[in-house]
Each structure stands twice: as structure tokens, then as C-alpha cells.
Symmetry: C2
Subunit: 482 residues, 2 copies
């Protein structure tokens, strides 16, 4: 079953070009060599004289050999038109696994071109937990269709997987577990395993359950391999294992995987019944997504943006942040407006004031980064918050005085006025203290209120050090110099 | 063997307090329950009447039961004095594995308290690749001592592991591989495995090598378990496997692990000889470190900072950034200085100019974040750079006009001057275009020069949009309004 090609013939004339771009993208990551024969690909490169039909089938057979994650990578790096061209050449039965690997933004552009039949066919190949990952991007009626076609057990799994928020352990869970009983010998376990076609990926341990599917322990595969086949499972299984609950924060699970070097961990309900498992693979994807979202949010981008998104989509993605910053800039501007009389009398103030505001903002952001990190690692609590506070204030006092002296000297060299340079020094030091104070208070308060301190803190501290810096500097100048 | 307690008796009176803090830290992460019996811990909490000696031994026995990664976590969350108190209570033979888990900054504080005998004893327990991880923090003479005590093979491994830069695959490599020959049956392999005491962590595949230790293929453990014991290794091993080279960038290895969902991968030299392996565990630690360093660098922090570092250390950590920003702020200040005459005539300019500079900087940082991300993912190349450029310029043109209209309206509402508000609008739009232009050019240029675009880009774009914004706005005002 291949997809109907929506593109006209004249659009296929660039096929050779696509082929070369694909080859380029693959060869840039030469690590891929294990999965595709590089010689085979390079051979294509030299072959420029072939007719389009042949190119088409060549590209298609090349794509068939490529790992779904690599196809996803290629699709993401191509502009929309080329992307859809390649997407059309991919076999429909591989669509599902490729969609799983693409970023949300790119997935959207791909799903938009598929009709409901194609979507049901593509997702029908996937496991329940994988369908759940795609679910937010699928049209309602496709989901309904899918529910109809799934066997009862998988339907239940899908329903359960879809019921957890994205940042819960339940959303990372899959259902590919091998379970055994504790009262059998390893010999029996080995025979049972041999009766299976294969084991799920990341099966580093078998889950020992009782008749009610209650988790009794785990049998690491590595222990199974080195043990005498005559002993019983109960004799060598671990009963002290990491157990996750589907309602736990995914963040906590990632900490556990990192700390204890896990490959998989069982997820159980309140009664200890085995529900599923989480693998290091899902955890790593989650960590990557988290850190990317953090970087994007810091720059005020709402979410990941398709590199080749239409202009209006990018504009939308970036607007909230610009709007917030407009408001804070207007406020800062009004603070300056209050002191227009002083600036008229001493125009040097206008040239010097951005220094106070800017450097103060930088210092505040340094403090915030430290605090946000400590909060994320769970290292901040009531007993050490005061110590940390004292430390940040001291660091800022030192930095403020040194920076203050530097800007004071600068002001003196330009304007030859000692009172003006003293005002600079004082204002700088005070703005540093303000930055330290609020650099600790803002993230702690956001955290207390249950908000994510990583996102809002930076905007807020900059707003404070801008308006505050202008106010402190111009206010001091008005009092002391006018 | 327990360490000699350096603390005097009067310092142990706070033991109950430490105990409770440890319990608090542990209980906050209830995931830990699999490894320590929580009831056992809570029991301690109620027990306030005991004498110090008993508390001491209780705390000690509690620490003995805790996973090294958890002890590292507790140490990081404690102020220096308390931290060393707990560190003294830890058994010396566990010191090595705990040091491996702490952050660099905290590790430094712990190593500083240990004499060379303790350090050799602690690190002697570790594998070669683990010693290599600690090596940068160990005094020279301890390393020399260690080299003397290691068996030849491990000494060679240590020398090799230490020879790779931190961001190379070689630095992630360990030497815990199980190797087999291809001409034996699975039955023989299973018997061989049973003769071992245990398998190394993360053994998801056995490495098939020939007499010269050349890697011929890999035998996934999961395939070994489901296959008929009578077949030969060569019949079921995979020959198309991901091979890493120790000189590869670690970054590339992490992409491969994420894309192909690997648990381990072999590392081979140029001749295909098996040198070691990389596990998902090392990869995950690397990803975490990378993303933390990125966050710290963005805020201009040179490296991770011990939460309770002495003030002067923190000052040092933060100074480079502040110094750079001082210079760019001075330049921006001089740009304003050039236009002091215009500001004197129309003081509103002083109040309005920070808006142009600030919002322009925000927009530029959004562009940079997009480009840096695309570069990191390897999605940017010559053929699509121009497309991306056009897109960023268009997005900025739209945002610049909308933002420009907003600030123009703001200026009109405050100052009731249509020419002034038109100058605002034009300046804003132009600064947005400048931000887009350099937001693409700066990271691309840094990348071309082989520098990390994530670190320097943000400072540079802010410098450009500040000075440039002031120049555009004040210049336009001088030409059109004076």
C-alpha cells in the first residue's frame, strides 16, 4: 500500500535535488552509517543522468532503508514543499512510527495533508501508549475510528494513557512488560521466554506478579543469565525496587532514572497492581523536551516552532512575549518621564541611565538562574533559604560596589563631575541590591504559588531592574545634584 | 574502616538536627522509598531523647543504607559545615562512588578535606573510566599513587580514558563489556555467562569479536533469550550496529542514543577494534550537564556554582559577564552621548529611547534562540539558510510594524506629537529588522568559526540592538524633528 501521489509531474523534476539533500543531511551525521550503507548512498550522488521515474523509485527505496527517526529528522530540516514531497514517498505503514519521532510543530504540517483513512491506517500499527502520544494532534473522528478498531485490552490502555497530563509518569508509561510468577524455576522462565517471538525493547528486567497482578518483585535479566536455572524466581528476585505511580510528576521519575541509572521501572497503582512500565528512552525524550521548552520559554517563544513555519504562525508564537515586554517598557518609560525636568537640566543623565538599568538586569538574571536551578533540583528549603539569601545579598553588594566604581569612573572621565560619578556609584550598588533581593524573592514566590519559576522570573526581574534602576538613578540625581 | 572524625564533641550536638534534615530531604523525594525503608526513617524522627553517641551511630547506619546518588544529593543541599559533618560519617569505601555523583563544585569542597591516603583509598575502589571522571579534581600526587597501585590493564584504560577531551565519546566510554566469539552456540554463551559472578550494568548486548578483538557484530541479550540454544552466535548476531569512535563528538553520540533508543553502543578504533562501550547512563548525565551549562552560560555564569560557595568564589564566577556587559553598556552610553544636543531640545527622546532598544533586544533574542536550536539539531545548511533568513526578516517586519504602531500610539498619547510618534514607529521597525538580520548572522558566523553559538550570541545581539536602537531612534529624531 503506497500513498497516492498528490504532486503533479512537473513537480518531480527536482527529485534529484531532494535525493541529494537527503544524502547531504544523512552524511552530515555520519553516525548513521550503521543503519544505511553509506557507499550505496554515495553512489546515488554521482548518478545525474537518470530519468525521473527511476529517481523516484530510487529515492523511495532509499527512504525504505532509513530509520524512522532519521526520516523524521530529514523532514524537519526540509522546507514545507520539499517536506511534503518526501512524506508522500514514505510507505503508509511507516507513517505512524515517523510521526512519533517528529516535533509537534512538524507533525502538525504532516497530519494536515493526510485524510482520515490514511491516519487510521498509519496509527493502527502503533501501540496504545504511542497512539496516546499522537492523540492531541489527531482529529476527533480519527480517534473515534481508532477506538472502534482496537481490541478491548488496548482500548483500555489507550483510554488510561490519554487520561494523564503530559507531565505525569502515566504519560511516559508503556505497556510492553514481560511478567512472570515467583514460584517457578528460572529454567521455566527461560523456556517461557524462548516461546516468545521477541522481547520488548528495553527489557532489562522481568516483573514478578501474583495472580492479582500485584507486583511482588523484579528479576533483572542480567541476574537471570548468571544464575543457576534450578533456583526459583522468588529466591533471586529483588523486592526493593523503584516503583513509580502514574500520578507522580514525570520530573521525579527522571531524577530517579538519572540517580539510580535505571533502564526501566515498573508503574503500579495505589494497591501495588502493576499498570505499566517507564523506560529510559521515554525519560530521555522527556528530559530533552523539557530543556528545549525551557530554552524557548526563556526567549519568550511559546513553544517549538517549525523552522519553516508560515510567517503568521511565527508571529503568533512570538507575540505574547513582545506584548508583555512592551508593557514593562512603557512603565519604565513613564518612570523616566517623571524626571524629564532633571534630564533637561543635566542631559548627561540620559546617556548614563541605561547603564544602571542594563547591568542591574544582568546581575538579577544571574541570581535568578542560580535560584531556579536550586529549586529544580529540590535543594532549596526553609532552613537554607535564609543562608542563600544572605549569600546572594553579599555577592551583589561586592559586585555592585565594584561595578559601581567602574561606572562612576566612566562617568567622571566623560563628564568630569565628582558628584555625578558618586550618584552613579550609589545608584549602581543600590540597583544590584534590588536585583539580588528580587532575584531571590521572585522565583521563590512563583514556586510557592505553584507556578514554574523558570518561565516568568526573567521578565519580572528585568522589569524591576529597569524601572527600579531608572528611578533610583534619576531620583538620587534629582535629590543630590539639582 | 571509618574516617577519623575531625569534629569536636560540641559540634555533634546538632546531630539530631542533621538527622532530621537528612530525613526531610529524603522524604521530599518519596521516590526513594524503594531503596530505604521509609518507616524506618520516620521512626528516627520521633526519637528526640537519645544521647548524641547513639544518634551518631544511628545517622551513620542510616547513611549506610542510602544510595550513593542520594547521599550526593543530600551533601549538595547542605551548607558547607553541615555537609562536611555528614561527609565524615560516610564510610571511606563509599567515598569514591559518592564523589562521582556530586557536582563539580561540591566535589571540590569534599576533596579539599581529604588527605592523600583517604583519596587513594576512596578512588581505588573505582573503575578506570570512573577514576578518569574524577581525575581533574584530584591532586597530581594522588593520581601518581593511583597509577602505581592499578593493574597494568586498568592503568592503560585509565591513561586512555584521561586522554580524551570532555566532549568526546572517549570521555563517556567505559570498559565493562562482555565479549564472545561468533563460532560458538548460544548454549555455550549461556554457560559462559553463568560462570560469571554477574554482568555489568546496562548489558543489553554482548559484543562479538574475533581473535584480534575486532568487532564483528553484537548479540542483543533479548535475542539470546528467545532463540534456540543450538544455533551459533553468527547466525543471529546483528552486523549492522551503531559504532562509535572515541574521537567523535559526544553530542553526536547523544543524538544517536536518542534517535535509535539505544541502551549501549560499542566504541571502536579506526581498524574496528573494540575499545569500550558507551551506556545510556553516561549519555543521560552528559545531556543533563550540557543543558545545565547552557542555562548557566546564558546568564553569564561561568560554570555551576556550589549553592553555598563562599562569596568571593561566586563573585569570580559572575564577573566576566558583568565586565563584558559594562563595556557594551558604556558603548551604548556614548552613542546616546553623541545626541545629547537633540535630547536637550526634546527631552521626550530620553524617556522613549529605552523602549526601542529593549524590545528590539527581545526580538533579536527570539530569532537567536530559533537559529541556535536549528544549528544544534544540525538542521541548518547552505541550501535552507536563505529561506530561513527570508522568514526571519518577514516575521520581524510584521512584528516591527505592529510593535512600532503600538509604541507610536503610546508616544502620541503621552506627548501629542504626530512627527515624534512616526519617528518611534520607524525606529522600532528598523531596529526589528536589524535584530533579525544579526539574529541570524551572529550565530551562523560563530558556528562557521567553530565557536559555540549558544554562549556568545545573546550578549552580542543585545549590544547591537541597544547601541543600534539608540542610534536609529536618536538619529532619525535629529534628522526629522530638529
Amino acid at each position: 500500500m503506497t500513498r497516492t501521489n498528490n504532486h503533479n509531474d512537473h513537480e518531480t523534476e527536482n527529485l534529484q535535488q531532494y535525493l541529494q539533500r537527503v544524502i547531504y543531511l544523512l552524511s552530515k551525521h555520519r553516525l548513521v552509517e550503521g543503519f544505511v550503507e553509506m557507499q550505496e548512498i554515495s553512489h546515488h550522488k554521482l548518478d545525474n543522468s537518470q530519468v525521473h521515474k527511476q529517481n523516484l523509485s530510487e529515492l523511495q527505496s532509499l527512504l525504505d532503508k532509513i530509520h524512522p527517526a532519521d526520516i523524521a529528522y530529514i523532514l524537519e530540516a526540509l522546507p514545507l514543499k520539499d517536506r511534503l514531497m518526501i512524506w508522500d514517498l514514505v510507505k503508509v505503514e511507516r507513517d505512524g512510527e515517523i510521526l512519533l519521532e517528529t516535533s509537534d510543530a512538524v507533525r502538525e504540517t504532516l497530519i494536515a495533508t493526510m485524510d482520515s483513512g490514511e491516519l487510521v491506517a498509519a496509527t493502527g500499527q502503533l501501540d496504545a501508549d504511542e497512539i496516546a502520544d499522537l492523540a492531541p494532534d489527531l482529529p476527533r473522528y480519527v480517534l473515534d475510528d481508532l477506538f472502534q478498531t482496537l481490541p478491548t485490552e488496548e482500548r483500555e490502555q489507550l483510554r488510561s494513557a490519554m487520561s494523564y497530563p503530559e507531565d505525569a509518569v502515566g504519560a511516559l508509561m508503556d505497556f510492553d512488560m514481560v511478567t512472570i510468577r515467583e514460584d517457578v524455576t528460572l529454567e521455566v522462565v527461560l523456556r517461557y521466554l524462548r516461546s516468545l517471538d521477541g522481547l520488548p525493547d528495553h527489557t532489562d528486567q522481568l516483573f514478578v506478579v501474583d495472580r492479582d497482578e500485584k507486583l511482588k518483585g523484579v528479576l533483572p535479566v542480567n541476574r537471570l543469565l548468571v544464575s543457576n536455572p534450578d533456583v526459583e524466581v522468588s529466591a533471586i528476585m529483588s523486592t526493593k525496587m523503584m516503583k513509580l505511580h502514574p500520578d507522580d510528576k514525570a520530573q521525579q521519575a527522571t531524577h530517579a532514572f538519572e540517580r539510580y541509572n535505571l533502564v526501566s521501572a515498573p508503574a503500579v497503582d495505589m494497591n501495588g497492581k502493576l499498570l505499566g512500565r517507564v523506560t529510559v528512552n521515554a525519560v530521555m525524550d522527556f528530559i530533552r523536551e523539557e530543556s528545549e521548552n525551557e530554552a524557548l520559554n526563556l526567549a519568550g517563544l511559546r513553544g517549538e516552532e517549525d523552522l519553516f513555519a508560515p510567517v503568521w504562525k511565527s508571529v503568533k508564537n512570538r507575540w505574547i512575549w513582545l506584548a508583555i515586554n512592551l508593557v514593562t517598557a512603557f512603565i519604565a518609560s513613564r518612570v523616566i518621564g517623571v524626571f524629564e525636568g532633571s534630564i533637561e537640566k543635566l542631559v548627561a543623565l540620559a546617556a548614563l541611565m541605561p547603564i544602571i538599568a542594563g547591568i542591574g538586569g544582568n546581575s538579577g538574571n544571574q541570581t535568578i538562574t542560580m535560584i531556579v536551578r536550586a529549586l529544580a533540583l529540590g535543594q532549596l528549603n526553609v532552613s537554607n533559604a535564609r543562608k542563600l539569601f544572605a549569600k546572594e545579598i553579599s555577592v551583589s553588594a561586592v559586585n555592585g560596589l565594584v561595578c559601581g566604581s567602574a561606572v562612576g569612573l566612566f562617568a567622571f572621565l566623560i563628564y568630569r563631575s565628582i558628584p555625578l560619578s558618586l550618584v552613579m556609584t550609589m545608584a549602581m550598588a543600590l540597583n544590584f541590591l534590588l536585583a539580588a533581593l528580587l532575584g531571590v524573592l521572585i522565583p521563590l514566590t512563583l514556586h510557592k504559588l505553584g507556578r514554574d519559576p523558570a518561565t516568568g522570573s526573567s521578565v519580572m526581574i528585568t522589569a524591576v531592574t529597569d524601572s527600579g534602576g531608572f528611578f533610583i538613578f534619576l531620583g538620587l540625581a534629582t535629590i543630590l545634584l539639582m
